[in-house]
Symmetry: C2
Subunit: 353 residues, 2 copies
Amino acid sequence: MNRYWSDTVRQLSPYVPGEQPKIDNLVKLNTNENPYPPAPGVLEAIRRETGDGLRRYPDPNADALRAAIARNFGLSSNQVFVGNGSDEVLAHAFFGLLKQQAPIRFPDITYSFYPVYCRLYGIDYEAVPLDEDYAIELAGYNGRCGGVIVPNPNAPTGRALPLAAIETLLRAQPDVVVIIDEAYVDFGTESAVSLIGRYPNLLVSQTLSKSRSLAGLRVGYALGDAGLIEGLERVKNSFNSYPLDRLAIAGAIAAFEDRDYFERTRLKIIASRDRLTAALGRLGFTVLPSGANFVFARHASRDAATLQQGLRERRIIVRHFAQPRIDQFLRITIGTDAECDILLGALEEILGA
Amino acid sequence: MNRYWSDTVRQLSPYVPGEQPKIDNLVKLNTNENPYPPAPGVLEAIRRETGDGLRRYPDPNADALRAAIARNFGLSSNQVFVGNGSDEVLAHAFFGLLKQQAPIRFPDITYSFYPVYCRLYGIDYEAVPLDEDYAIELAGYNGRCGGVIVPNPNAPTGRALPLAAIETLLRAQPDVVVIIDEAYVDFGTESAVSLIGRYPNLLVSQTLSKSRSLAGLRVGYALGDAGLIEGLERVKNSFNSYPLDRLAIAGAIAAFEDRDYFERTRLKIIASRDRLTAALGRLGFTVLPSGANFVFARHASRDAATLQQGLRERRIIVRHFAQPRIDQFLRITIGTDAECDILLGALEEILGA
């Protein structure tokens, strides 16, 4: 504690991101990055933008990127908000849309940044327990509240809700904003984007960090009714006029242009996930059904933290959450099949010992 | 107004950045960008980083960049905070350090983002009038307040305070944070960085957008006591773990490595400023003494908004603020000598007409 801090700083509990080890030759399966490189056109677009023009401010509204995203989803540019990763987009959404009188709701086991935003902005919340199968229990989202945020698929469980369930949620809460955080949606989960025209309270957030292989470029976006987007713009323009640099804008536009590469890599990851899920089952793991680029798995007899440590000694990093109800699970990012095989070999060795 | 907005959004008055026209062949002297390109090493470093590694998250703490900045200033890494442009750095500083019970103070004529941050975070402020020469009046900063932020040199006036005046300010306000916003300091103003060891309440913010020719890359930083920096880190880690992408980190590190290029370009801009100031004087302008890469100039007999419009018709963009006390001034960014000559030629034409 420093005497000069504001009261806000004093009571924060900052988010702790997954480790980014500065060690080479790791099999890194802990932060849900994509095992495939960005589309070749992305790297070309960034190289083209790397020139004298960097002395100039970027377009503060990133109009060209918003147009590219709008085209991709069949929306208008005024239904698209872009930011420095979906974390920044969500931060603005918490401040601008979810900060209400009544407490907001999200699952008790979910992306651990949500309660951090609440603390930052002084937002009350109620954590709605997942059911016994670690699925989101829709009934818990009925009745008066200040807003709802649900990831679909959920993290770290990977479990997805069907579109009909999202629509039930929207119908139950027409007077508050419902955010569907679709960071992992492209790995086999139905997107709620198709509902945007019908629900003016629906905001969908997505990211280029996972399915577009661009975690290092920091671009996320939200899609929704123009009124919601305008609210986000007002917060953004009271915070930082230019959150996306010129290189990020150029690279992100190119990422939406190569649909074929996007399809091929996301389908490969889905296939690897199915293969890994089956193999983990044979090793005695229970694996929750996943609609994401990771699996959440628990071994029948071995302690998760011990398994994580054993993998780490073999230079394989997976994520473990020392948190009630899920402390016997490991969250494992889907790597290439070769990386998955290294993981499986190491687990066999540890389990056999 | 949208029914889903939070009360916060409803009462915001967002910042309006200087125009970024999407027209070619402009002489663009409105947003204080550097007329010289980034150092060659910066572009090389970005190109090297443009590869498959973009699929990975950046270092959330940007340790390598913080170390490079610390080395440049003879500080430790824990005295350095980095962010997505100094606008983001300042936003976190307002929330984390300046949000106090008592109102904060800043000049009545200054960077127009300060009152916007206050509105965003619910911070009271008192605007302290500049004196009749548009200089900062130190006496106005005595007595109980919640904090102080002063740009040095000030914007849009360009007027600088000597280091002794900054120290007077720090001595007058030992119990609250004093932020010196040094966005333009490298163009001939004394930096307060040398005072950091002695004043635990001093935070100095700087940017790579101006003197390092990297407005398009979005990197800013704050320097100060490790306790203040820790407070900023807590806010940042409750907002967005990874505000700087991999390309921005790589480019920014390289920008601090080429000291010679930095020195040469900033001295060229200072020389061009002196030359432009003299020439504007010959055309009947009063030019405030500037320690920045822009001048603030008023014509003896011609209306500033009319002059701005006349320049615009000749494809020359300068900035005008329709604001009491300064609505007869133009803020003109220092371009190359060739650009300054085009400006002077156009002014001669307009004034002669």
